[in-house]
Symmetry: C2
Subunit: 378 residues, 2 copies
């Protein structure tokens, strides 16, 4: 009886009541009904982003929202810093370079967090850095960066705007946009927000507007000025992805019921259990500062993680993620974000035990699961 | 017993079996299951676009796909022509100007089609025009352009690439990409493709690739080169809008069952019936070359069409569209694209009779409906 389990860092499972809502007959977006939903989503998102500022909803993947944070803030020749510790941090570099911006790059060793101290050093040597781009939870390595300290360091040592890619982290791991003074936070629909992919979100502190007005990089679809103009009418500049927005509204209800801080603690527990399970199986955690939303585990030297991931997917219906880039075949990643609970973790650990065993690794069945249970059920 | 009827030019109603499929548990996109669906969608779309060429699927609204046809084809200083006859034709101008391209603009009077002859004159005076941007069915005026003749004219008089915005027309009105020699066609998910909004599609003739390689406008999210690279793996560069793509697959099955040419004839009949109904009520059709997918009707001088549209929406649950821009308050627009049938038209005409009457226009009840029936049931 094959069932499918998605424990990848996006897409993540969608709660059935969310999926059901998105399959109701479509409504037109220029209606009071939609504007009511849009307003609820807007208010609800503020409780997830922990901001009082504007949040834009874009029909695109998260990368589109990242691109919007490049084209709306910069002009040719601007000096910016990218603080990266993995594939998604490096995406900032690629986007910037596509627009002819040559960023100062601080690329931390993969598996480590970016260091606020090193950012400070760079800022002090480059007073004219206009924007710092970094990542909340780096999905490729399962690492969480200390955004609070990074933001504090930036505030103390420069006038730079901080832009944070929180695509995989928002809703799953502590991020307090306003309290921490983060100016721009971007995310997607298919992770902590428990929806199907296809929507991106950008929260912007009003401090950015003078910068946006002066920024001369070209933009049309991703133009925040148009989004801001339409936001007051509870609309988007172009046809919104109506059903996905309705889904977000439903998911936000659930997030509010649970309470965002309770959810952070919950995912922290799931991640702790996942790490303990891995260790009980004799495996190592890849990151020195593991995130609450995705756990990256080193594959045993004798096991190609690509094979493990494909076997779990094709034979047992369980989707986890392989390593990316140079980590392909070396690590595997289990996500515990969005609509994931303790029994999903048990199922996944159990499947990993079976998969590793089939690939010749010496597994004492139940050892990982026991370790996970002892955390989850305590 | 209030029910909702959507007869706007996007979003359009989604067939229940399509909506149901999109609410099934999410699957991961890096799986054989998804790649199978992606392949089916790709093959199916070719039968709708009538092309053998590549079709890219983008998570964005249709405007994103339009922008992609600017940034992937042009470099600063390139000479291009926009042939526009309404709001959506003018969108090409706005996108181009956002990227610093000053197009030659041929703006036809709204309600008329763009003239292949006038395009010819401009091409002959400007041998170095690189791309011609135009619109298949101009949604704002309910006009269909003669893309076949436009394409023929371009081929005979220049080397320009023809880019057609077929967002509202594809699947609803004859458009033969390969036979007519159109190089680029863009569309969205929420019209002829009978899906929720959130997906855009771009079909590209391989002739464009040398141009794309030389084009220096900046792009990342909308970069066709990355899309092309991933297409061979049945993947997209960034997380695809999985559920919407699954929906498209389901809708395409329906389109294939009906047959694309039969659908064109069907919408032609619906549009003819709508026009005859309007005339029977003493109203005038706005366009001199009406499209099969949306009918623009002049509001009687005594009736503000904005009021009519709001009343039908708020009092009777029927969404039709007001005029846009300078046509706001002057015309109303009824869409007959995608999942719309003859009884939707009857319902809509009936509601228009009631609404006009309530707003003081002299209506003989049933006259519009009778005229529509005599076309629809013959």
């Amino acid at each position: 009886m094959k069932k499918y389990y998605v424990l990848t860092p996006g897409p993540t499972p969608v709660p059935p009541e969310v999926a059901a809502k998105t399959s109701l007959p479509i409504i037109h977006h220029r209606t009071k009904e939609f504007e009511k939903i849009f307003t609820e989503v807007e208010e609800g998102l503020k409780e997830v982003f922990l901001t009082q500022h504007d949040i834009f909803i874009i029909a695109s993947s998260g990368t589109g929202a990242m691109e919007s944070a490049v084209v709306n803030l910069l002009s040719p020749g601007d000096k910016v810093l990218v603080a990266s510790c993995g594939v998604f941090g490096n995406r900032w570099i690629k986007i910037l370079e596509s627009y002819g911006i040559k960023p100062i790059t601080y690329c931390e060793e993969w598996g480590k967090e970016v260091s606020p101290e090193k950012i400070k050093d760079i800022l002090l040597k480059n007073e004219d850095i206009k924007v710092v781009y970094t990542t909340h939870t780096e999905t490729s390595t399962g690492t969480v960066n200390d955004i609070q300290s990074i933001s504090k360091t930036i505030k103390e040592n420069s006038n730079a705007i901080l832009v944070v890619d929180a695509i995989s982290g928002l809703g799953g791991q502590e991020l307090r946009m306003d309290d921490w003074g983060v100016e721009v936070v971007v995310t997607g629909s298919q992770k902590g927000l428990m929806n199907a992919p296809g929507l991106a979100f950008v929260a912007v502190n009003e401090r950015i507007w003078p910068v946006v007005e002066k920024a001369s990089l070209p933009r049309f679809y991703f133009d925040w000025r148009q989004m801001k103009k339409m936001l007051s009418k509870k609309q988007t500049p172009f046809t919104p992805a109506v059903t996905l927005i309705i889904g977000v509204n439903e998911a936000i209800k659930r997030i509010k019921e649970e309470g965002i801080e309770n959810l952070w603690r919950y995912y922290e527990k799931l991640s702790f259990a996942t790490r303990e399970a891995a260790k009980a199986l004799g495996l190592e955690i890849f990151s020195s500062r593991p995130s609450a939303v995705v756990t990256a585990i080193k594959s045993p030297p004798t096991v190609d993680s690509t094979k493990l991931v494909h076997m779990l997917r094709d034979k047992y219906g369980i989707s986890i993620a392989d390593g990316q880039d140079v980590l392909k075949g070396k690590i595997f990643r289990i996500a515990h974000m969005g609509y994931i609970n303790e029994f999903d973790i048990i199922t996944c650990v159990s499947a990993v035990e079976k998969g590793l065993s089939e690939l010749g690794y010496n597994v004492e069945y139940g050892k990982g699961v026991s370790a996970a249970e002892s955390i989850l059920f305590s």
